[in-house]
C-alpha cells in the first residue's frame, strides 16, 4: 500500500492532482505578472514611441482632413459646421473632378511604367563596371535632388510654344517643319501632348530614384546564386525574372509603394507647367484640391477632393503590403 502510494497509481495521481489544485488556489498568479506578459509589455513599451509618432504625424492629420472634408470650413474662418457628405457630393457634381480623377490615375500608371522601364535599364547600366562609374552614379540622381521649381521651370522653357529647344532640334533634323508650320508641336497647348509632357517631367525627375532602389536590390543578390543560374544555362531574362526579381521583391514593392504615393500626390509638376490647363486637360486631384481649397479658400471642399486620393491608394497598399507579408514567411 505504501509502495503503491510512493510509486504512483490511481490514488497517488488523484492525491497529486488535489495537491496541485490546492496549490493553485492558495497562490493565485495573475496573468499580467507572468514572464510572458512582462515580455509582451516591454515589447509594447519599446514600440510605443513609433506608434505615437505615426499617430501624431499621420493619424491626426488624416483625421483632421476627414473632419475638414465633412465641414463647411474655409481658410478665413475658425468656425466650421458639420455638413456630412455635402463636400463629396459637391465634388461629384463637377465634371472637372472626374477629369482630375481620370488624369491622376493615368498620370500615375503611365509614369510608373516608364519609371520602371527606365529605372531598370539605368540600374543595369550602372551595375556594370566602367570608367567613372562612381561619378556617373552621383550625376544621375541630380534630377531627383534639384528643387522642383527650378527643374520644372527649365522644362517649361523647353516646352515653350515659340522657343522650344526640343522643337528646334526636331526641326533641325527634319522631323518637323519650321516654327509656325502645322506640325510644330505645342507641347503644353494640346491636351494629350500636355498631359504627356507633364508625365515626362515626372518620369525624368523620379526615374533615378527607381534606378537607385533597383541598384541597391541588384547589388544585394549574391553573385554565387547568379553564377549557379548561369551554369544551369539560364538566359539573362530568365535570371532576371526567376532569380533576381523574387530575391529583391521586397525592395521593389516598397519602391513601388513610395513612387505611387509620390506620383499620385504630385502637385508641383502639373501646377508649375500648366496649372491644370488647357481647359483642365492636365488637371489632377492635388492641383484641383489646391485651387479649390487654398487659392479659392473652400477648405472643406478642397479637403474632400484631396481625400479621394486615399481610396485610390488604399487597395494598392493593401495588395503590396499583403504580398510583402506573405514573402516574409
Amino acid at each position: 500500500m505504501t509502495l503503491s502510494t510512493s510509486s504512483g497509481g490511481p490514488d497517488a495521481a488523484s492525491a497529486r492532482a488535489a495537491a496541485v489544485s490546492i496549490t493553485v488556489r492558495t497562490r493565485p498568479r495573475r496573468w499580467f505578472r507572468s514572464q510572458a506578459a512582462r515580455r509582451l509589455g516591454f515589447g509594447y513599451l519599446l514600440l510605443a514611441p513609433a506608434v505615437l509618432y505615426v499617430l501624431l504625424l499621420v493619424g491626426v492629420p488624416f483625421l483632421f482632413s476627414i473632419y475638414l472634408a465633412m465641414s463647411d470650413a474655409t481658410v478665413g474662418d475658425t468656425n466650421a459646421s458639420f455638413i456630412g457628405l455635402e463636400n463629396f457630393r459637391a465634388a461629384f457634381e463637377s465634371d472637372v473632378f472626374y477629369i482630375a480623377l481620370r488624369n491622376s490615375v493615368l498620370f500615375t500608371v503611365v509614369a510608373a511604367i516608364f519609371k520602371g522601364l527606365l529605372g531598370t535599364t539605368l540600374a543595369f547600366l550602372l551595375l556594370r563596371p566602367f570608367w567613372g562609374r562612381k561619378v556617373i552614379r552621383g550625376l544621375v540622381v541630380i534630377p531627383f535632388t534639384l528643387p522642383i521649381s527650378i527643374s520644372v521651370l527649365g522644362w517649361k522653357w523647353m516646352y515653350d510654344s515659340q522657343f522650344s529647344v526640343i522643337n528646334w532640334f526636331l526641326s533641325q533634323i527634319g522631323i518637323i517643319g519650321r516654327y509656325g508650320s502645322a506640325d510644330w508641336p505645342i507641347w503644353l497647348g494640346q491636351p494629350l501632348l500636355a498631359l504627356s509632357a507633364c508625365i515626362a517631367v515626372n518620369v525624368w525627375r523620379n526615374f533615378p530614384f527607381s534606378a537607385i532602389v533597383l541598384l541597391a536590390g541588384f547589388t544585394s543578390v549574391p553573385t554565387e546564386i547568379l553564377d549557379a543560374a548561369r551554369v544551369d544555362g539560364t538566359s539573362f531574362v530568365q535570371r532576371f525574372r526567376h532569380v533576381v526579381v523574387p530575391m529583391i521583391a521586397p525592395i521593389l514593392l516598397i519602391g513601388l509603394l513610395f513612387d505611387t504615393v509620390f506620383t499620385l500626390s504630385d502637385l508641383g509638376v502639373v501646377y508649375l507647367l500648366t496649372q491644370g490647363g488647357p481647359a483642365n486637360a492636365t488637371k489632377t486631384l492635388p492641383v484641383l484640391a489646391y485651387q479649390v481649397g487654398i487659392q479659392a479658400g473652400a477648405l472643406g471642399r478642397g479637403a474632400a477632393i484631396a481625400l479621394f486620393l486615399f481610396p485610390l491608394l488604399l487597395p494598392l497598399m493593401i495588395l503590396l503590403l499583403r504580398n510583402l507579408k506573405r514573402r516574409e514567411y
Partner: protein, 443 residues
C-alpha cells in the same frame, strides 16, 4: 429725497457720451495730426513690423520698396522686415498664417483679392482709407469693390496693373489697318496680319492673363459677371453669346493654337520677338520689348481699351491690396506704414517704371510721373474711369475668387474654340458659375 440734478434732455451731454465723443475726437485728431505731420506716435517706437508681399515684375521696385520701408522704420524707431514671395504662393501663405494666428503684420494680395474671405480677421482700415480719400480727391470708383465689406474697408488698395492694347504701328500702317480702337478693328487686323506671318494672341490657358484679358473684351461687349450686389451670377446673357462668337472668330482668324499653352509672360515674348501684330497685356510687355528688341520697340504703340459695343470700354486690371491681420501686435505701426505708402504711391509708380497705377483720383492730374512724359504711354492716364475688377459690376466676392482661381471663364472660351458647340460651352460655363455660387449660398 428728490434728485436735484437737472433732468436729461435730448441735448444734454451724459458723462459716458462726453467720454465717447472726446475720446474719439482726441484719437481721431491724433491720427490726423500724425498723418499730416508724417510723424509716428511714440507707442510704435521700438516695435517690429513684418510685411509679406509679392516679388514685383519690376525687380527695381522691390529694391526701392525694401529700402524705403527700412528708411521709414529708422525714422520712426520701427524695425521693418519685408519678405517677398511669388504672388501665386500668397493665398497658401495667408491660409497658413491665419491658421497659426501668427506671421506677418501686413499681408499683400495680388490679383486674387481675399478680403471677403478673411475680413473678420483683418483690421478695419476705414480710417486710413478715409484720410487718404480726403487728401487725394477720393478713390477711383472700382477701388471699394475690392476691400469694402459691410461698409468698412478691410484692405488698402495701393496700386493696380493696367492691360492696354499694344500694337505694331509699322505693320498697321503698311497694311492700311486702323488703330484697334474697337474689338472688331482688332479682329480685322489680326485676320489680315496672320496671313502675313504676324498673328495675335491672348492666352487661353490657365493663367492670370487669360482671366484678365478675355474679361475685358467680354465686359466691353456689355456682358457682366454678377449683379452689382455680387450675390447673383449674371453670366448667361445674349452679350455672352455675342462675345463668344467674337472670341471664336478672332481665335480662328487671327491666332494660333499656341495660346492654349501660354503663361503670363508668353505674350510679352510674342511681341518682343516681332511676331505679334498686337497683344492685350500689361506694360511689362512694353518694357520687355524695350529691353530686348529696340527695333520692334520703336514701333510699338499703346491703345485705349477697345470698344466692344459702341462707346463701351471696360478694362479689367490686376489689383494689389494690403491688409493687416487682427492678430498683429503692431497694428498701429502697420496703419502708419500703409498711410505713408499711400502718400508715396507716385514714387512707387516711378520706381516701377509706370507699372503701378494709383487708385486715388488726384493722382491722375496730368502729366503723371513716367507715363505722362512718355508719348506712347500717355494714354494710360485715361484708364481710371474704365477700370474694373473680377466680378464686374459687383464686388470681388468669394464665389468670384473661386471662379477666377479655377479658370472657369477662359475654360469656357477654350471649349468653344476647341470645337465644342456654343450652347454646350455656355451650358458648362454657366453651370459652373451657378454651382459655385450655389455652394456659397448654402454655406
Amino acid at each position: 429725497m428728490s434728485d436735484s440734478r437737472p433732468a436729461l434732455t435730448k441735448d444734454s451731454v451724459t458723462r459716458r457720451g462726453f467720454l465717447k465723443v472726446t475720446g474719439a475726437g482726441v484719437g481721431g485728431a491724433s491720427l490726423l495730426t500724425m498723418l499730416a505731420a508724417r510723424q509716428a506716435p511714440a507707442q510704435i517706437k521700438g516695435t517690429t513690423l513684418r510685411i509679406l508681399q509679392w516679388s514685383h515684375f519690376i525687380p527695381a521696385y522691390d529694391t526701392w520698396y525694401d529700402a524705403f520701408a527700412e528708411d521709414w522704420g529708422k525714422k520712426n524707431g520701427v524695425k521693418v522686415r519685408v519678405d517677398h514671395i511669388p504672388h501665386l504662393e500668397i493665398p497658401a501663405r495667408m491660409a497658413a498664417e491665419f491658421a497659426a494666428g501668427a506671421g506677418h503684420d501686413i499681408i499683400y494680395n495680388g490679383s486674387s483679392i481675399l478680403t471677403r474671405l478673411y475680413y473678420k480677421n483683418l483690421v478695419d482700415l476705414t480710417d486710413v482709407a478715409d484720410t487718404a480719400a480726403k487728401k487725394y480727391g477720393g478713390w477711383i470708383p472700382s477701388a471699394k469693390s475690392l476691400v469694402e465689406v459691410e461698409g468698412r474697408w478691410y484692405g488698402l488698395p495701393i496700386f493696380y496693373i493696367l492691360a492696354p492694347m499694344l500694337y505694331r504701328k509699322d505693320l498697321f500702317d503698311q497694311n492700311n489697318l486702323k488703330a484697334p480702337d474697337t474689338w472688331e478693328l482688332a479682329r480685322v487686323a489680326a485676320r489680315t496680319m496672320k496671313a502675313k506671318g504676324h498673328p495675335t494672341g491672348i492666352a487661353l490657358a490657365q493663367c492670370n492673363d487669360a482671366n484678365l484679358m478675355w474679361r475685358s473684351a467680354f465686359f466691353s461687349f456689355g456682358g457682366t459677371e454678377a449683379d452689382p450686389s455680387g450675390d447673383h451670377p449674371t453670366l448667361d446673357s445674349k452679350e455672352l453669346r455675342e462675345f463668344l462668337k467674337f472670341a471664336k472668330a478672332i481665335f480662328d482668324e487671327g491666332m494660333t493654337p499656341e495660346v492654349f499653352s501660354w503663361d503670363d509672360a508668353s505674350d510679352n515674348r510674342y511681341l518682343a520677338s516681332g511676331i505679334a501684330c498686337w497683344i492685350h497685356d500689361a506694360i511689362s510687355a512694353y518694357r520687355t520689348t524695350e529691353d530686348t528688341n529696340p527695333d520692334v520697340f520703336k514701333n510699338v504703340v499703346l491703345g485705349l481699351e477697345p470698344q466692344g459695343q459702341p462707346g463701351k470700354r471696360v478694362s479689367v486690371a490686376a489689383p494689389n491690396v494690403w491688409m493687416v491681420w487682427k492678430f498683429s501686435k503692431n497694428q498701429q505701426a502697420a496703419k502708419e506704414w500703409l498711410a505713408y505708402l499711400v502718400d508715396n504711391d507716385l514714387e512707387g509708380m516711378v520706381q516701377s517704371r509706370g507699372y503701378n497705377m494709383p487708385y486715388l483720383n488726384d493722382r491722375y492730374k496730368k502729366p503723371m510721373p513716367v507715363i505722362g512724359s512718355d508719348p506712347k504711354l500717355q494714354i494710360l492716364q485715361d484708364f481710371p474711369k474704365i477700370v474694373a475688377f473680377y466680378g464686374y459690376p459687383g464686388p470681388s466676392t468669394t464665389p468670384i475668387q473661386e471662379i477666377v482661381n479655377t479658370f472657369v471663364f477662359p475654360d469656357m472660351i477654350t471649349r468653344f474654340c476647341r470645337g465644342q458647340s456654343l450652347e454646350d460651352a455656355i451650358k458648362w460655363g454657366v453651370g459652373e458659375y451657378r454651382r459655385i455660387y450655389g455652394k456659397y449660398k448654402q454655406a
